[in-house]
Amino acid sequence: MAADSLEFYATDAHRYDELRDRTGALRPHWRPLIERLTADGPRAARRGVELAQRLIVENGVTYNVYADPQGKDRPWVLDPLPMVLPAAEWRQIEAGVAQRARLFDALLRDLYGSQQTLTSGVVPAELPFGHPNFLWPCHGMTPPDGQWLHVYAVDLARSPEGSWWVLADRTQTPSGTGYALENRQIVARVLPELIRELGVRPLTAFFANLRERLLAFAPEGETPLAVVLTPGSFNETYFEHAYLARQLGLPLVEGSDLTVRGDTVYLKTLTGLRRVHSILRRLDDDFCDPVELRADSALGVPGLLAAARAGRVMLANALGSGVLESAAWLGFMPGAAEQLLGEQLLLPSVATWWCGERPALEHVIANLDRLVIKPAFPSQRFEPVFGKYQSPTQRQRLIERLRSRPHAYVAQERLDLSQAPVWRSGETPGFAARSLGIRVYAIRTANGFEVMPGGLARIAGDSRVEIVSTQRGGGSKDVWVLGTTADEPQQLTPGARFRVRHDDLPSRLVENLYWFGRYAERCEDKVRLLRATLAVRADPEVWQRAKQACESFGVLRSDPRIAVALFDPDNPIGLTADLHRLVYCATEVRSRLSTEHWAAIGTLNRESQETTAALGEVVPPDPREVLDRLLAPLVALAGLALDDMTQDDGWRLLVLGRRLERLQFLATLISQRLTASTLASQAEVEWLLDIAGSTITYRMRYLAMPRIGSALDLLVRDGTNPRALAFQVLAIQDLLQRLSKSLGAAGDRSVESAFTQSLQPLLDVDLGTLEGEGHGAQAARSAFAAGLDALAAAAARLSDLLSSRHFSHVKSDMHTVAA
């Protein structure tokens, strides 16, 4: 059996095989996993792969790749078969990574302080001084707790002899911890028993400690507030920022959500400014403060450097820590370890030469065939070059380049990465070999650096590629560190300190929640309108009127191809455009949405994209089927808004958005029908009830053929029908009261009372007078329509008021000036 599943797992003499030893026998730490999977058979394996795929799609795990032809988001690629490491081997990695984190922290302190590593000649001054992330405005600064580095990551690969080597270090804003956690949660669903039986070490304590660390900086007596600072939803790892913020229970903020007054950083919240004590940043060094760093950065926080200089905010990591992200440092780390720590460096790095040293340059030129040439600084536009693939002319040009500015280049020996098994599904399921590297993380805790017992394994898309990179289309794996009895069980105990705070709602988040509510309702209304309209296509008279209504709402374009008329993505007020806006708002509030919420959003996004893609096909999508498929997740969103969210002020604004939207839509729809000269037919009333989702309620209540008078009673005046206008007004009134109680907002309430009062004229009318073909009935209908219009207009004014009252300080309107 085992022989079968390993049929496609080829051995490569040049690589270390994670799975099998030189005799071909399975290594002991892999055996339980492989034997179990083999015993479960290929069908179980396929189910596992499919489950992992489904969870990734449902959880919306994505990795944005700039200029990806397939669109903005690409699903994360996870091979559910983990990379397994035995406890003893892990201890060595752990010690080496923790030491390296300590060393980098000490090196940052030196470079931004006395620079003894430079004057002693241990480290070339060209490395920091030529690096764009060496921030001179930070020179002489001391971070609040004396720590420069809080979160550190290192890329490791195994050499053919079996030892782990450092490929690269991440000291600025290391990414991937969130993906590592998400991978673990998915793999735990696929292989639940194995995780337990093998005693795989959990990751949760690592995140708890990170959170503790961030919150620990608040002084005694102040409620701690830490935030995750993201460049925004267009960043390649935004999913992770939102995910991390949710896992850590911290607000996810953009630069414009923060302001610095004096030397203190504040979060603009719904309830005013709240002091921020710590920032886990995902924004690059030089983008962080347009006053003192890159002036063209609109993503930063003006004055952040002043706050950091005054020691009033902890930044993880300190500004300028990106200076250590260059392969050029690797060769100098043993000397730095000796000078700064008095220790031998535990983890070797892949052989690297910085060409700025004359002897190194000569060595590199003499050995070009074995080497990869890389830029020494990230600001250079220079892709890695493999010496052995160069033509004689290219080679000559490369040598000239190296000689003319040697300090700008680094040469590295190529390392044959180790190989590990991946699950292959399809015709012949089993295991296949892929090369891999692992990224390991460390965080600063009260007891020094702690290494995450696991990590992110990255696999090459092809078994023989030489560079493993997420941006180059590889995949990922969970990393299992096997436990020993000596390892303490690390269970996450949800205590008071883990409770998510709800009074720290960033204003921008609240604004997006409001619009998320509005667009969710708007899309649902439009889908219901179109669906009801397509259902009356057989009745020419109703169809004509219904079509006009759709046109006036902008959801139907004049195009003979019905699918195009309905779903044209270029129609700025069409359904597809509104679905895009809904997905955008959802992305912005992602840190507040549950997995179920996100699954509904994911479905909408996919349906919408697939429909758009299919518009040009010979057999266009059937519009009614598409609308049915869209309606289900939209209805789910409505339910989730009621049942699946903490009912704080953010939620109140979301529901306000929904209510106002529903009110404006229905009032406008009914008003349009009433202003027409003829009385609505029975079929038209049925159409209206269908759009308002009230057909069944009507039948139960009136037991009669639909008539406009009783329909209006149900759709306008019935305070118990959750679709009726009166119901919306009452609900809005209630939400506004709760909101002003919670926020203590006082002052002018004239817009609110005008809104509430605008319902009254509609309640006073004798609805019987609206029925009939006569002139009087027609005038009564027009008057009622005017009342509906007034209500819709009052709702629009209320919406503007909410914007100016709660979201006005969101738009920061920031300019940089220079003279």
Partner: protein, 301 residues
């Protein structure tokens, strides 16, 4: 020729924001540095409106930086820096006595041996910086100025004259966002562009060069011709020329800096020492008006 000149300098900057600015942070480099040939006798910065906070501190390059925060709504901002500075004649230099440029380059390069702090300070100015990207094209352009064994100051002065001859002074055509390559291709720009281009050329040879921000005497001394760039703040270049140390060259005018040049601040490029920069929240159009006058109040011999 006088041995020293005393200047009174007034540098006015006025922002009319065309709307209320709610919050603003400003960073000023408007305090003259001291040098063996330059003494600041009096100095002040007047601000209107008054800021909520003001701090004057040395920056990483030894310049005084003034950090301001305004937290009340204001529609305009006036910054008036006044100073009295005495400039002494600099010693006569013999360019031929400076070290060959390759030796300078090698002495500043990493060897694994200890590096004196004084030299470490120089090394800061050898590398590419945000406004000075070093390209191979610059090296080719300046190749003829630096033949093997050329004394460094001879080469630097040749380069200065070459730039002065090749470039056209064209005020208003470029801004701080104009890429250096563009200026190199069009051969047009202002003092800041001349300085950045010269620094880029020098650094492409591994030499150290820094950006000097300052002023020029507004009206020429009797019998002399008016210098270019005197009606605003000016910029030039300092080149590290051992054994003489830093020598200041003004490529916009093709001359060595002398009695007409008053230095404010220096750094790797404009970004380190821009006289005023900041971020405002709110406000509308914000084109500042800048006026600089540099008057001699005494000539001392």
């Amino acid at each position: 020729m006088s041995a020293a000149v005393r200047y009174r300098i007034r540098h006015e900057t006025a922002y009319a924001y065309g709307g209320n600015v709610m919050h603003s942070r400003q960073l000023l480099h408007l305090t003259p540095r001291s040098a063996p040939w330059q003494t600041c006798l009096a100095h002040g910065i007047e601000l209107d409106p008054l800021p909520a906070s003001r701090r004057d501190e040395p920056d990483a390059f030894g310049n005084t930086v003034t950090r301001l925060e305004f937290d009340r709504p204001h529609e305009r901002l006036a910054v008036v820096a006044t100073m009295e500075v005495e400039i002494k004649a600099r010693p006569e230099l013999d360019p031929g006595s400076t070290e060959p440029w390759e030796r300078v380059r090698d002495e500043l390069s990493y060897t694994g041996r200890p590096l004196a702090p004084r030299k470490l300070e120089v090394v800061r100015y050898r590398m590419q910086s945000p406004y000075v990207r070093v390209k191979h094209a610059f090296e080719r352009y300046a190749q003829a100025c630096f033949p093997a064994g050329q004394p460094i100051l001879v080469g630097a002065e040749l380069l200065m004259r070459k730039l002065h001859a090749d470039l056209t002074y064209a005020p208003g055509e470029t801004g701080i966002a104009t890429p250096l390559m563009r200026i190199f291709e069009t051969r047009r720009g202002v003092c800041q562009d001349y300085a950045h281009l010269m620094i880029a050329c020098l650094r492409s040879f591994g030499l150290a060069a820094r950006y000097v921000s300052g002023y020029l005497r507004t009206l020429p001394a009797a019998g002399a011709t008016a210098l270019v760039g005197a009606d605003a703040s000016h910029a030039w270049v300092a080149v590290y020329c051992p054994p003489l140390g830093w020598v200041e060259l003004d490529p916009t005018n093709g001359i060595r800096a002398g009695l007409d040049h008053v230095a404010l601040a220096w750094g790797r490029d404009f970004g380190d020492v821009s006289p005023l920069r900041g971020v405002i929240v709110g406000g509308g159009a914000h084109q500042p008006s800048v006026r600089v006058t540099v008057e001699p109040i005494a000539s001392l011999s």
